[in-house]
């Protein structure tokens, strides 16, 4: 008998632009106006500058927790751009840019980073959760958010993010399986940046792609060049449209790379990845590629770049200033945030702290 047990790769891979900004797949080219194309570039440059500023502030000891994003801008910005304001984002700890462009005020991000609970509080009109720390938790919750949209007949989509490492969690499988079983309007993004802290993706799984994990859940899974913002946008847009139309969830794996350390809390990438690998990915920089594409169409200039850089610096400075001035967290405030109706036991505990404050 012939062997029937062969691992298979069953998912397509998509790219629109190659590393030099040349169009390699006209069919997938999204219909975006010149202004929209410029906006994508603006957002990526803005994000790159925020990242640099955050890293700098962090090194000065003036920020708190921060997970750098440089290298992943196309995956982040391209996918968020495919959503609408009423769509709901469930992000991981690195997914700050998507939140910012979905409406999370910058100063709240700074508060979040500095460990102020009000950083996690989303303004009423912002359809998103704070960055999730527990890897995988947001994937299962996404099935719930999306089911709510379906039950209420709302034409809204839930979109969530995790990393390559996150696909190993039980919650990952439960999330995509529930979403498939309930046929809900959800989009699951996996940003495969090749490493989970120090662990390379080949140690996470024997699966050739992460997108193929969708097959077992009975939902479409696709792999996309995560440093090609047009491909990320185009594929996510199809998934979002499909979800909105009531046709069910999709899993998208974006192939990308984080240029910086895992977080600013002492990670040293030289312990687990080579300079050659870093150089290889630097050549695929999502900003460089898209800039070349736009410059060839005369849609982006040096002046545009400079203007965006200045805007980003200014926005970041304002955000830090506002966060600096924001009232500090207090223990009574913390206690008050535990319940809608504070139990007597907690009221008593609260008094121990208010007395002290007034003294």
């Amino acid at each position: 008998m012939s062997t029937v047990l062969e691992p298979t790769k069953l998912v397509p891979y998509h790219q629109v632009l190659d590393e030099n900004g040349k169009v390699v797949n006209r069919d997938l080219m999204p219909k975006l106006s010149d202004d929209q194309l410029r906006e994508l570039m603006r957002r990526m440059v803005f994000t790159r500058i925020l990242d640099q500023r955050a890293i700098r502030l962090s090194r000065q000891g003036r920020l708190g927790f921060y997970a750098p994003v440089a290298g992943q801008e196309a995956s982040m910005i391209g996918s968020e751009y495919a959503t609408q304001k009423e769509d709901f984002i469930l992000p991981g700890y690195r997914d700050v840019p998507q939140l910012i462009f979905h409406g999370w005020p910058l100063y709240q991000w700074v508060l979040f980073s500095r460990g102020h609970q009000h950083g996690m509080e989303m303004p009423k009109d912002v359809n998103a959760l704070f960055p999730q720390i527990i890897i995988g938790a947001q994937y299962v919750e996404t099935a719930g958010v999306a089911l709510a949209f379906k039950l209420r007949g709302e034409k809204r989509v839930a979109i969530t993010y995790t990393g390559d490492g996150g696909t190993s969690q039980g919650d990952f499988y439960e999330g995509i399986n529930f979403a498939g079983a309930f046929h809900v309007p959800a989009v699951f993004i996996v940003q495969n940046n090749q490493f989970a802290i120090s662990v390379p993706v080949r140690l996470q799984t024997a699966a050739e792609t992460l997108a193929q994990k969708a097959i077992a859940a009975g939902i479409p899974g696709v792999q996309v060049d995560g440093n090609d913002i047009l491909a990320v946008y185009a594929v996510t847009k199809q998934a979002v449209d499909r979800a909105r139309a009531g046709d069910g969830p999709t899993l998208i794996e974006t192939l990308t790379f984080r240029f910086g350390p895992h977080t600013m809390s002492g990670d040293d990438p030289t312990r687990y990845r080579t300079k050659e690998l870093e150089n290889e990915w630097e050549r695929k920089d999502p900003l460089v590629r898209f800039r070349k594409f736009l410059e060839a169409k005369e849609l982006w200039s040096e002046a545009d770049e400079e203007k965006t850089v200045e805007e980003a610096k200014e926005a970041f400075n304002q955000a830090v200033k506002k966060a600096d001035e924001y009232p500090k967290m207090t223990i009574p405030g913390l206690i008050d945030s535990m319940f809608e109706v504070l139990p007597a036991s907690l009221k008593r505990q609260r008094e121990e702290y208010t007395g002290k404050e007034e003294a």
């Binding site: 927790f65 700890y93 720390i133 527990i134 490492g165 120090s198 990670d267 500090k328 036991s345 505990q349």
Partner: protein
């Protein structure tokens, strides 16, 4: 003897046990090449190979299940949960499976697994990293919970934990990893898993603590001695499951008053259990109620106010003064 930090003492204990017993395995997220996010396993993969010290996929439940399965087959896994706030992901494998393997199989199988995990506040981690969740396992029959307060104990307790034939949760307070050095023998030695230690003698008041709170309690005790001439006896529990009530009772028979200090929230934690046991074993030796110094019953707060939330030496001192007067 060598001067070691707690992280070095832990690394050293793992190194010695890997060298001594080929059945000892070390695994978890980032423990291999990276040597752990705190470097607790630094150099061990290079020394013992990737069959004995290895990275796992990112899944705590998987890590727990792998450990239990290997233990069933006679290995002695030392599994790292990268931060103890992620223990909820592996709750069933620890509290539901590992803890009852011996009982279920009448000792046909046993579960000599050590779950090592950093925890504890004061180092500005993101959410779900610093929480003191030991109380959950004070209420879990079938597991031991060990919490060292210094490098010497860390090494001796970890070696005991690895050699013990039942599951041990070994909690490493992040703030203690590098904050102190002490003389630690280079060779292997053990510290018993169920014995508290009197770390400061006194006749007027007993203070019971564990983990980083031992140091907070010691500071408060010095202050009390200096300002009031009152001598507090400080007990480092070292294990919160089981609790060494004998050492506590012996102290209370001398002092007649007691305070329990814990970094975990107030309700139903280790301190509550300690006080219940004191009531059962020593109530007639007490001259006043046993008090608790703990944070309030909120989630572990976001980093900005953690230093205020965690009991400070001043709060402990206030608690001691109250215990002396009520």
């Amino acid at each position: 003897m060598a001067q070691m930090t707690m992280i070095q003492a832990i690394n050293n204990a793992l190194d010695l046990e890997l060298g001594r017993d080929p059945n000892v395995l070390v695994f978890g997220e980032d423990v291999g090449k990276n040597g752990g996010v705190f470097r607790a396993t630094d150099g061990l993969q290079a020394k013992y190979g990737a069959n004995r010290v290895f990275d796992t996929p990112l899944a705590e439940s998987g890590i727990g299940g792998l450990a239990v399965g290997l233990a069933i087959q006679g290995f002695r896994p030392v599994a790292e949960i990268q931060f103890f706030g992620f223990v909820f992901e592996v709750m069933d494998q620890i509290a539901g499976q590992a803890s009852r393997l011996r009982y279920r199989t009448s000792s046909r199988f046993q579960c000599p697994v050590v779950f090592r995990s950093p925890f504890g506040g004061g180092v500005k981690t993101p959410e779900m990293h610093a929480d003191s969740l030991e109380g959950l396992f004070v209420q879990t029959p079938g597991v031991r919970v060990v919490i060292p307060s210094n490098p010497y104990d860390a090494k001796g307790l970890l070696i005991s934990a690895i050699r013990d034939n039942d599951p041990v949760i070994f909690l490493e307070h992040m703030k203690l990893y590098r904050s102190m050095r002490m003389e630690v023998p280079e060779e292997a030695y053990t510290v018993p898993l169920d014995q508290a230690k009197v770390v400061r003698e006194g006749k007027d008041l007993t203070v019971i603590a564990y983990g980083a709170m031992v140091h907070t309690a010691l500071k408060a005790a010095e202050e009390l001695a200096k300002t009031k001439g009152v001598q507090a006896e400080v007990i480092d529990l070292r294990s919160v499951n089981p609790i060494d009530i004998d050492t506590i009772v012996a102290s209370i028979k001398k002092t007649h008053r007691a305070v329990v200090v814990q970094e975990a929230q107030r309700q139903a934690g280790a301190a509550a259990e300690i006080i219940a046991q004191i009531n059962e074993h020593a109530i007639y030796h007490l001259e006043g109620p046993v008090l608790r110094v703990t944070p309030p019953d909120t989630v572990y707060p976001f980093a900005q106010i953690e230093d205020e939330w965690i009991p400070t030496p001043q709060r402990v001192l206030d608690g001691m003064n109250r215990a002396l007067t009520v």
